[in-house]
Amino acid sequence: MTVDSSPGAMVLDDVYKSFGSNPVLSGINLEVAPHEVVCLIGASGSGKSTLLRCINLLEPIDSGRISLLGQQVTGPGIDANRVRRQVGIVFQSYNLFPHMTVLRNVTLAPTKALSIPRAQAEAAARELLARFGLADKQGEYPDRLSGGQQQRVAIVRALAMQPQIMLLDEVTSALDPELVAEVLDVIRELATGGMTMLIATHEMGFARDIANRVCFLEEGMIIETAAPAELFTDPKDERTRRFLRRIVDAGRM
């Protein structure tokens, strides 16, 4: 797949972030082009999730710059809500609203944040739900759905805001193995549709399959970035090699 060379949809410039005295991101530089899919791999605690949360402005960064869609979003005077409406994020633990039906979960943000009329938002939501095989679940409460269904609803909920960028934070990690495929299929469809995505994942096979580029993170730094074919078969850095060897030994690739 070729990636066009227009300016980055996401540009991270020397981003630092620490929780107390504990550094989590130590100088992240990353540029993601429009319609590009970039996967973040690395051990737990390497900073993948924090990186995604910083891009969504759920966590403030200590220093550095983040630009989304050609607009700097870090620094004073930024309306975080406006930024977030263009950037969808999906969490490992779904985080659906348990007191609302599936349909209401999906329409809440469009009606309240974008002031789209309810009928219109519901029509759009039904269409999205149908597209991802959830048409018959719109009246259910999240507790009644399987993990895979809940995660697909969470993706639909994010998509209902018509974001330009999607951030996926280990969206299959909480799922039973047999439910992983249905969620990965949804993400694949998004990639085919040209969605710009930054995906933190433990699914190496999936990353190899879907990503234009894969970044290996360790201790809050991007150690190595390469096309998947290159990074998985011929990693340049010793730390990447060590990580991948552990993955292979664990039978996860």
Binding site: L58, R82, F91, L96, R157
Partner: protein, 320 residues
Amino acid sequence: MIGNNPAFGPDNREYAADAVPSLLSASVTPGTPVFGYGGRGPRLLASGGRRASVVSTISTLVVLAALVAIFLAAPGSSQVRHTFFDLHDMWQSFVGDPTKGYYSVGAAIWLNIRMFLAAEVMILILALVIALIRQSSGPVLFPLRILAMIYVDFFRGVPLLLVVYAVGFGLPALRLSFISTQSYAVYGVIALTLSYSAYVSEVYRAGLNSVHRSQVAAARSLGLTQGTALRYVILPQAIRNIVPPLLNDFISLQKDTALVGVLGAIEANQAAQIYGSTVFNYSSLTVAAILFLVLTIPLARFTDRLIDRDRQRRLAGAVA
């Protein structure tokens, strides 16, 4: 003292209201439903088929019979029965007779109900405001947070009876045009609101804390403002979690409307006292007690049912 009658004294409520925050803090850890404690609150009958229910019925009857026997055998039994359980006096005090100098306890309970309803609405609003202030972050609201904390500490620490006196006698003494010319019932409602809001704000706070932080993150990540997230995502879940302790406080509030009688408002307890000191028979107090029970017991059963229903809903969700 007129209003300090053991059946409705201020002490009763201290227990009930105090139990609430501790009950909550024990059960509100993230992910643990507040309803988890003890399943269906009071489990009256042990489950186990017909034989078990026969046994429990018999043992209940035996215990009741023994208590009645002790009561009847007591040396002063007939006196007590005459003073507190005389059917004629109970009826007289229930219907009242102003020409003989006493009021109807049955009519007076309406004042309790009206005070209860008015206070409840105001408490729900004021307590929520206090809880939200205390939960707020940001340096700008710091003075308000301190004020809210002082408020809660103060009104949880001062006995309700003293608050009733302070408001009921203090505000009129100020001789302000509007504030000092209200009825005792209004002052009573103000005092009840001031005191109970401190307790209920803590219940709200526990409820807000019981909603997992990831829900806030999910709502904000969709571009919802803090206010919208609070209104549509956080509060509905918080309130669902605190319905039982809230209702518990309101059961307590229903009884505490009796304290307003010390100001001279003719509510059920005060009407019963007047009957007692006019006719020298205290069956009127029994009538007042029965009327309060008629009010509080349905609310208590309703609370149980809510807890039960929620538990079943969650279980059904977990199985699916």
